[in-house]
Symmetry: C2
Subunit: 522 residues, 2 copies
Amino acid sequence: MPTSDEPRRSPPDLRSEYVAAAAHARRTAVLASVESLLGWDEQTMLPPAGGAYRADQAAAVASLVHTARTEPAQRDRLERLATSMEGGEGDWSDEERVTVLRLLCDLRKQLRLPARLVEEIARACIDGQQAWVEARRHSDWKGFAPHLARLVRLKREQATCQSPDLDPYDALLDDHEPGARSSDVSALFDRLRPGIVALVRACRGSRCPPRDDLLRQHFPRAAQESFVRMVAEKIGFDFARGRIDTSEHPFCSTTGPHDCRLTTRWDESYLPTALFGVLHEAGHGLYEQGLRSDAFGLPGGEAASLGVHESQSRLWENLVGRSLPFWEWCLPLARRMFPEALSDASPEEVQRSLLVVRPSLIRVEADEVTYNLHIMLRFDLERALIRGELAVADLPVAWDERFEQDFGIRPATAAEGVLQDIHWSAGLIGYFPTYTLGNVYSAQMMAAVETDLPDLPAAITAGRFGPLLEWLRERVHKHGRLIDPGPLVSGATGRPVSERWLVESLWARYGPAHGLETLPPS
Amino acid sequence: MPTSDEPRRSPPDLRSEYVAAAAHARRTAVLASVESLLGWDEQTMLPPAGGAYRADQAAAVASLVHTARTEPAQRDRLERLATSMEGGEGDWSDEERVTVLRLLCDLRKQLRLPARLVEEIARACIDGQQAWVEARRHSDWKGFAPHLARLVRLKREQATCQSPDLDPYDALLDDHEPGARSSDVSALFDRLRPGIVALVRACRGSRCPPRDDLLRQHFPRAAQESFVRMVAEKIGFDFARGRIDTSEHPFCSTTGPHDCRLTTRWDESYLPTALFGVLHEAGHGLYEQGLRSDAFGLPGGEAASLGVHESQSRLWENLVGRSLPFWEWCLPLARRMFPEALSDASPEEVQRSLLVVRPSLIRVEADEVTYNLHIMLRFDLERALIRGELAVADLPVAWDERFEQDFGIRPATAAEGVLQDIHWSAGLIGYFPTYTLGNVYSAQMMAAVETDLPDLPAAITAGRFGPLLEWLRERVHKHGRLIDPGPLVSGATGRPVSERWLVESLWARYGPAHGLETLPPS
């Protein structure tokens, strides 16, 4: 692999083709980032009556992005470059080769989608999200069902168009987790499931389970705002290149190479809602801020996959934020912000109170252990919807029955059940399984970090998060999506991807907190 | 003029041409509104490091807007429609005729601008504004001068391209105040000036001038935020269709037919900064919200001119917000929000304290009387810059000398002088005179309102602003820019445009507050 100092020996016309292809990708990213901003603004700032026109704006920009992405001249350039690279012509770095292949692969997918369909999906997503906000507020499944039916139909059409050789669900999954296939995901989930089910059962049978009364006190919103901002800043989120706002559903949105925006929601009677919302989204944000800004809009500056993205958010949320060293550092700060609620608490008490396992209705409020059961449910249902094995009209009943079977409780309202998540309303299907893949990756990464950085607990106790962030920057962030998720995680950790470390990590932390003496099933 | 119930008798191909032309204008407005949102976000939300990429985003969207606006098919449609209308073909309403003429006139102006120039100006404006923020912060004229020189050069080029028959400054003025010519503006200002100069002199010689100590106490920011929001809502600003945020320089930005965003700034030691900032911007916002949303993107749904816009903001800020009836209504509310500062104040005291005349350095903090002197200074200097009679390098000296001559004081720093306004940094040249035109229009409108609505003072005392807003909606807002500013103001008030009512209004309010017995010069 030549370094940048060596003279390039590729023919000059191919070199200028490459430069033009990269410039085109960067220009397209400028427009795509405007689309992101429209979405961020819609969720955080848009006045209530502005929704219909925002749908027009988003559809117009989505259509421009699609037109730019699918420009025939760009396809021709990339096809010529790929052919000449395959033929051994020119002298290309690995990054240049992968860049061309990735861009071409994306473009071919896009080219199979008619502009009409892209615009229709964009509009259905905006309409769907607005309908979902209202429907969830009033627990009105019927108000949302036609939107979901329209989205399922459109997403199936998208899947069939863009990857005619794949199972339609796999085609959608591939958009979020490149190379993943639902049969493999299913198999991984099948191996993971027994360890989790056994842990949930063991925790529920505990005679001395942890309690979270400590976290269910009054935490004034203004103090929470200062507190979570300080925590985000301390773990490394750069506010010169980002911000935190409020939205119905927390998210992280990148609207430029130096502009990454987190959101959270607030609950004055339960501290973890905002704090772990922000730790999670800041984990995403640290990944985005760790991508190479010089390659913004190119595969070298883009996230590897949603699963890898989720591994970063989960790592900071669960493996850092629920650890004892974190609270040894953080509690004095929290005590200053919330003197009434926390003045008598010890780090051990706070940390143990964060390890409650309690089957509950709402995914985003679920504990770390049962969370994966929420995901497996959604994975199975959305796959059945796309494959036509489940009608949208039958979804609420299917949801409630499966939920009762997995959790032993049944949602009383649609708002607490099938209407709780924004994803489907935003056209995000094939997205949910990446959450559990992220949990799997995060545990595997943390196991490797613990070997590589034996002093990490002491550093975190001292408020030094730099060594951990540096490890992630070096092993994960800086590679962008030049390496596929599987090899990226294997390469970063030195081991093939496995659910083993997640099971071990959950048992190692939740077992002692529940006074368990049993070992995880082998 | 046929009503909408009568059958249209224009030939069907021309009718469909008209529909297509209107649809094109609406589509272009969608993109232009995205450009507005990028600007609003830049001033209110953008993280500090995001500026460079925002310039790329704004330039890309500006270029798309320009491409859409200048689409040859639209020009052809409008030319055919205008020709056939001139020839007496078809049966068109007055609104349809004016719509075609306005759109065609705009399009011809645009077509004379090369896309390269449009993009360069957009970029220079973003760069200029960012440089201005820094330059003003550090009072660093040299850091801003090259940006201004670039902008003056580009705006002169724009003027020459778009209106080759006009004086370059008049070409820029025409963009903001259609039909206005700087020789007429100069003449109006010459007639206005003596009355203002005499009033300033008389007020400065007062032996019992009003004092504003009452307003220079501690007004906590959180209470100010609630207070100004309540006031804006009460005068009629609809928060379902708008919002208020914070920015360096207050502005009002429309980002959709139901999405109008105001900004203000805050000074905890001086209540009027935020309150009158919001009254002013809400005045703009009431106009925007009063435009016909069904005609968004068409002349029937667009503001008549900047001068007319400013008449609305000034009317609410000065003629309502500094009146006794307003404070008879507002003071009990203000006392609840600021009990420590205002519990002993009477409406008369507050109102009189808002009528201080004090020559001062900063335009946006200037009193209502000297304000017009700030404008006349900028009008003369920017006209000289564009005409090449003044070099950018000589601007600070020219500013300071003229300022001393007009106000008897000299700015100590560039930040308090030539660097104080955002306008030139944003490419807004030919904009300043519209502020004083707005003052002239607003006084003339308020004189007509007082005749038409004799009970208005009692209504305002009772917190009923509806009759006034209804008058403005009916006489001004609903006409959009289907009528030129001059005829619009004459038609609304029943009198030709004149500076007379502004001079009378200022003397009638500021004279008694300063214990003056003299009358305005006739």
